[in-house]
């Protein structure tokens, strides 16, 4: 089935702030796409305490869970192996790392394994689904002492959001005059529901960022604990088409330009000649927005029916830099393209392969006109780092 025809997509993203304003967080959220995107497994692990030691504990716990799953070990078995193998703090009798594992399939089959983290939340149709309705059971073993494993198994529906939080969210503000006992799960849930009531289409990235931002406000900067939120959203896929480069055969210009007319998808055009082809073939004006001037990245333009028009090679290379770094340090056309990429689920690159003769001038840097390589790197980053589905078609 072509990606555009796929009726469901599992969108996963997270946001995190480290304790005390440090660079390294003691929480770890990681996901892996399996079975050609049919299944996504996500892990939130929270290492005991904070800093480097906690970061190592959380990272190892999450990595173990994902490796087991990759080796085709049942997720429930992987969770039990973690319970058996996690070192226990001799004083507090708690594991050196908590974890929540979500095993979500595109057909809706979902299993959640939890140990020690705040309970996951399932948001459906604008309301919180009681965990009791999801068959959440507690599993105990004599060798686990007082440590518990909670297991839930249910059928997700399109639109469902599974929200995982570290205790840095639910305990934010603890000890303050306003929140002496911390923010708490009900208040965090109410915050999420309120945000979704106003913006039902919020992406996992934005929603997790807003929740963590609010928790940080509760603490007052710097954060009193590592604050992490990860969200798994089963939704109709959002498609983005990126048109870049003129077609090799000029006779295909009209066909290429008509790609911008595909209904129900977002369209981005990258490249001066490419945008000129679209303007000519579709009889649409291109207006440049000089207010967004940036020394590194040329300003974006607007065109009716197109979400973003940018320069080509330099902007695309900068997008790759931002995706690799995991942050956009400047507000420019590249950062806007990164926003659109991360807000989308399926990204289809429509790449024209005509060689730009002007770029062959020996006066220009050799790095120019490596459009195809840049696109390949970008697609790989989007798939591996952000679990997006990508396709590249050459013209």
């Amino acid at each position: 089935m072509a990606p555009e025809e796929s009726p469901r997509f599992i969108e996963v993203d997270h946001f995190q702030v480290a304790c005390g304003g440090e660079h390294l967080a003691g929480d770890h959220f990681h996901s892996r796409s399996l079975e050609a995107g049919e299944r996504v497994v996500s892990v939130l692990a929270d290492g005991l305490s904070s800093g480097v030691e906690a970061a190592v504990l959380a990272s190892v716990t999450a990595a173990m869970a994902l490796e087991y799953v990759e080796w085709n070990i049942d997720t429930g078995t992987a969770a039990r192996i973690l319970m058996d193998s996690l070192p226990v703090d001799p004083v507090r009798c708690i594991s050196y790392s908590t974890f929540t594992i979500v095993d979500a399939r595109r057909d809706g089959r979902t299993r959640v394994f939890e140990h020690g983290n705040p309970p996951f939340m399932l948001i459906r149709d604008g309301a919180l689904v009681p965990l009791a309705d999801l068959g959440r059971r507690v599993h105990t073993q004599a060798r686990w002492g007082n440590r518990r494993l909670h297991v839930s198994e249910f059928q997700s529906r399109v639109g469902d959001r599974i929200v995982l939080c570290s205790d840095g969210v639910t305990q934010s503000g603890m000890g303050s005059a306003e929140l002496p006992l911390g923010w708490g799960e009900p208040a965090a849930a109410a915050f999420l529901l309120g945000r979704l009531a106003r913006q039902p289409d919020l992406s996992s990235r934005r929603l997790s960022e807003q929740l963590v931002g609010r928790a940080l406000d509760n603490d007052g900067e710097p954060a009193g604990d590592d604050i992490t939120c990860g969200i798994i959203h089963l939704r109709r896929p959002r498609c983005l088409h990126i048109l870049t480069g003129p077609p090799f055969d000029r006779a295909r210009d009209r066909e290429y330009a008509n790609l911008a007319r595909i209904p129900g998808v977002r369209i981005v055009v990258c490249g001066g000649t490419t945008s000129n082809i679209l303007a000519r073939e579709l009889n649409r004006a291109v207006e440049m927005d000089l207010s967004m001037h940036d020394r590194q990245v040329p300003a974006p333009s607007t065109m009716q029916g197109v979400d973003l028009v940018t320069e080509g090679c330099l902007t695309l290379a900068r997008v790759v830099d931002y995706l690799e770094a995991g942050a956009c340090p400047r507000r420019n056309a590249a950062s806007r393209l990164v926003e659109l990429l991360l807000e989308s689920d399926i990204i289809h690159f429509q790449v024209g392969t005509a060689v730009n003769e002007a770029h062959q001038d020996p006066a220009l840097p050799v790095e120019l006109d490596i459009r195809r390589n840049v696109i390949k790197r970008m697609a790989a980053l989007l798939e591996q780092k952000h679990l997006k589905q990508t396709r590249i078609t050459y013209y």
Binding site: T273, N276, H293, R295, A299, V309, A363
Partner: protein, 86 residues
């Protein structure tokens, strides 16, 4: 008198040839030219396709192509057109 339109090429080759700052032209014009020039950007003027990228960055001053464009060069051309040059 209508302002003179200066169109800055924001194509890849022109940007690489130090053309990215030309969009700030209005800030760099002599005082007597301020308000007499309208600056706009163009995704790509495609002038490099005929004249070569090494002649960039390109701009159009009142519709006329100017290569190796700089603040001073553009201002000089505007002075010529307005007949205000030395």
């Amino acid at each position: 008198m209508d302002p003179i339109t200066v169109t800055i090429c924001a194509g890849t080759a022109c940007v690489v040839m130090d053309g990215s700052g030309l969009v700030l032209l209005e800030e760099h014009l002599p005082a007597h030219l301020k308000g007499r020039v309208k600056v706009r950007g163009e995704r790509c003027l495609e002038l490099c396709h005929g004249h070569g990228a090494a002649q960039g960055p390109y701009v159009l001053v009142a519709g006329e192509a100017l290569g190796h464009a700089s603040f001073q060069g553009i201002a000089a051309r505007i002075e010529q057109l307005l007949g205000t040059g030395a």
